[in-house]
């Protein structure tokens, strides 16, 4: 049954793409939840990771691990740097300009170093094979990727729910000023959120490179899909982000197979539904406008 197999493969592919987007979007939602900053340079973090995988990983598992470690360090450093760059800036418009400016600069550097064409990042040789899935060969790497990203999601959820750091994080998201009144240094929490969010995005790039490889413009693609996921999932929520990511992943794969041109409209409709439902649940806050 070729057609059934095709749907199965596309569905699994949707999960893989969704988990890829989850890993990228969770950092964005963390930064947005803690700092209220929309990091328009977030796609660049992913792209940096993808290029890192292209540079370092050559098919051995060891070097993939090396790329992973490098991604954590690079992401944390770049994230902390971004926090410093955003510290003197107030207002969402200026924050958008700073992150956009950095994104443009980084994109220029990438094009200069790696050229304007797409590059191929190979998965490690052990995972390079295919398994039969519904009569089609399916890359093992993507299945492993789903497992790794799923594990990451569970770990993140447990950290946010049950560790002290997670509790402080949620307290800061709920009321930054009162969190500071308890003695939490807002600057430190924000830098930490930026560093962790940046690491996650670069790691997403390293692991996701064999699925969505490095090329100019990939940063914008990842950014906008991650952004839609943040709106769908609600700021700072791990399960919400996961659900949003899986939905967007399916729309981007199965939806595209069904009706290529209609996929954007399906995402738009999903945004509409979520915003309408959430708008009903949280009536406009009352109080003095001052």
């Amino acid at each position: 049954m070729g057609t059934v197999g095709m749907w199965v493969v596309t569905g699994v592919d949707g999960v893989a793409f969704g988990m890829l987007l989850f890993t990228a979007a969770i950092g964005l939602t963390l930064i947005f939840g803690v700092m209220g900053v929309l990091n328009l340079a977030h796609g660049v973090f992913y792209l940096a990771g993808a290029y890192l995988a292209y540079l370092i990983a050559d098919g051995s598992l060891l070097l993939l691990a090396g790329a992973f470690a490098a991604a954590v360090v690079l992401g944390a450093t770049a994230g902390a740097g971004l926090a410093v760059a955003l510290a003197p800036v107030r207002g969402h418009l200026d924050q958008a300009l700073v992150t956009l400016g950095l994104a443009f600069l980084a994109a220029d550097v990438f094009t200069t170093v790696f050229g304007a064409g797409p590059q191929l990042a190979e998965p490690p040789e052990v995972l390079a094979g295919h398994v039969m899935l519904g009569g089609y060969g399916y890359p093992v790497y993507r299945l492993v990727f789903i497992a790794v990203a799923g594990l990451l999601a569970v770990v993140l959820h447990l950290v946010v729910r049950h560790t002290t750091a997670g509790i402080l994080l949620r307290a800061t998201v709920a009321d930054p000023a009162m969190s500071a009144a308890m003695g939490v240094r807002p600057g430190r929490v924000q830098t930490a959120a930026m560093a962790v969010g940046g690491s996650l995005a670069v790691v997403a790039g390293v692991l996701g490179a064999p699925v969505l490889g490095p090329a100019p413009g990939v940063d914008a693609t990842v950014l906008v899909l991650a952004l839609i996921i943040v709106v769908l999932g609600g700021a700072g929520s791990v399960p919400g982000t996961a659900a949003g990511a899986l939905l967007v992943g399916q729309v981007q794969t199965t939806g595209t197979l069904l009706a290529s041109a209609a996929a954007p409209f399906v995402l738009f409709a999903a945004l509409l539904v979520v915003l309408v439902v959430r708008g009903r649940r949280q009536p406009q806050a009352a109080g003095s406008p001052a």
């Binding site: 002290t164 509790i167 402080l168 949620r170 307290a171 709920a174 009321d175 000023a177 009162m178 969190s179 500071a180 009144a181 308890m182 003695g183 939490v184 240094r185 807002p186 009536p283 406009q284 009352a286 109080g287 003095s288 406008p289 001052a290």
Partner: protein, 509 residues
């Protein structure tokens, strides 16, 4: 004759808190209706319900017999409801004339695009009526506070509303301004119905022909000013201590304090702070010994909350402000630094982390602790202090009752080991029994060496809880006295004058 406004069993709940129990009110046209009551009585909630900025949990609101319960605020405004806010809500970037143009009765957006002003003649007449003509070309944000309040009133009345809602119109105004305000309001056409919420009872007695008293979200009484002044329940809401003075034996309540914890009093010198460059508090000095409890009294807008917020680091203080605890200077303007220096803050409305559970609040407060100087409260000690929290550890803060929320806010502040605890309106929204319990708790904290500064509207509670009371008026300390001194007739009269309730207090004497 049908009523202009009829509140038919209207109520409002917030989570576990009953902000307003079902209330039934009939207000005929032309009535000047005052609404009074202590903080947290539900007065502002009532105004919001009528204006449509919040929806009732139950009941109906009828304007001229039409059910407007489901109408949006703008639809209600088009039906003739005008309002003011406690802080002037003007358009700061627009000129005064444009502010008024926006308030004039709606004309279509798409007509007369070529005129410079939509209705210059009308705008000018409104400006002239409020004495704002000379300021027409200025941006509203550049006006003084008093001028902004005047403009706010002009905005609210320019559309010729049938019903005018005034939320604390006297807040932040001096005595002369308040007299002028009363005159301006008195000159409004007699068919305009006014509902006025204010803490300045003099203004209420002068302006209103009917007064409703609320307390803890309950309707106590409605009647003429004379009837209300004679009403026992109303007087009790403002004046009677929630427990008898005989209950107060602070020394007995206070356990032996650890040696050394009594050294380390708080000194505030020259505190000047405010919002957007407008100082609300001027050059304020305070000294609180370790274990002392100091209450700040004063009308709305007198600067109580501003003082506390500035000490907690939430407002940037002006140059010249110096705060020390135990002789060590406290860095100002940063909440985390204030917390590290030993300042604990329980703001008005508690500001808990809504989705976090009680246990998570306690964990977060312990983990975030920066200071090592104060009394080392442990989580189990704090839970002993507030036993109700024990059974609620897994409950999200948003679902606690008002009293439990206050306890949790105190617990959160204590786990930071503060040497100075700032309590802003701690009794707001609490039932009388809980208020009495709270006074005892504050005494126990002071007994452990914590200095307490509380901002309070309820004189009886302040008198009961504190060992020193200061009255703020227009951002400065107008008098300081011990509770015992306040009991003398002379002090009482002065207090009444400062708080604008001397008629009520006088009738009690």
């Amino acid at each position: 004759m049908t009523d202009l406004l009829h509140l038919d069993q209207v109520s409002r709940r917030y989570g576990g808190l009953n902000a307003l129990h079902p209330i039934d009110l009939h207000i005929p046209q032309g009535r000047r209706h005052g609404i009074i009551g202590p903080n947290g009585a539900g007065k502002s909630t009532l105004l919001h319900l009528i204006a449509g900025t919040i929806r009732p949990s139950s009941g109906r609101i009828l304007l001229h017999g039409t059910d407007i319960t489901s109408h949006t605020p703008d639809r209600r405004a088009r039906r003739g409801i005008g309002r003011t806010w406690q802080h002037p809500a003007v358009f700061p970037r627009l000129t005064v004339a444009d502010n008024i143009a926006l308030a004039l009765p709606s004309r279509s957006c798409f007509t007369a695009p070529f005129g410079t002003d939509p209705a210059p003649a009308q705008t000018e007449s409104v400006l002239a009526r409020f004495g704002l003509a000379d300021l027409a070309g200025l941006r509203a944000g550049a006006l003084s506070y008093g001028q902004q309040r005047l403009l706010e009133l002009a905005l609210a009345t320019a559309g010729r509303p049938r019903l005018l809602l005034l939320d604390e119109p006297s807040a932040g105004l001096g005595p002369d301004d308040i007299r002028q305000l009363a005159d301006t309001l008195g000159q409004l056409p007699t068919d305009v119905t006014i509902i006025c919420v204010d803490h300045d009872l003099d203004l209420i007695w002068q302006l209103c022909d009917t007064v409703t008293v609320l307390d803890h979200g309950r309707h106590l009484t409605t009647g003429t000013p004379a009837q209300v002044r004679a009403h026992n329940g109303a007087r009790a809401a403002y004046l009677q201590p929630t427990t008898t003075p005989a209950d107060r034996s602070p020394e007995a309540d206070r356990p032996e304090s650890a040696p050394g914890s009594r050294t380390g009093g708080v000194s505030v010198a020259g505190l000047t702070a405010g919002y957007h460059g407008h100082p609300v508090v001027h050059d304020l000095d305070l000294d609180i010994p370790a274990g002392g409890i100091h209450a700040l009294l004063g009308r709305n807008g007198a600067g109580k909350s501003t003082t506390l917020a500035a000490l907690a680091g939430h407002l940037p203080p002006a140059a010249g402000t110096a705060v020390t605890i135990g002789g060590k200077p406290v860095p100002l303007g940063r909440p985390a630094c204030a917390a590290a220096a030993g300042i604990g803050y329980v703001p008005q409305g508690r500001r808990l982390f809504g989705p976090l559970t009680v246990a998570e609040h306690l964990t977060a407060a312990t983990a975030a602790r920066q200071t090592t100087h104060g009394h080392p409260w442990r989580t189990d000690e704090v839970l002993d202090l507030f036993p109700t929290l024990h059974d609620r550890l897994a409950t999200p803060a948003g679902r606690l009752s008002g009293g439990e929320q206050q306890m949790l806010a105190l617990a959160r502040a204590l786990l930071a080991h503060p040497r100075l605890l700032l309590l802003d309106e701690p009794t707001e929204g609490l039932a009388p029994a809980i208020v009495a319990q709270l006074a005892g708790t504050i005494h126990r904290l002071a007994g452990a060496g914590v200095s307490v500064l509380l901002a309070e509207h309820r004189i009886p509670f302040a008198v009961q809880a504190a060992d020193q009371c200061s009255v703020l008026a227009h951002g400065t300390i107008a008098m300081t006295a011990t509770p015992a001194e306040l009991a003398t007739a002379g002090q009482r009269q002065q207090l009444g004058h400062l708080l604008g309730i001397h008629h009520t207090l006088g009738s009690l004497a």
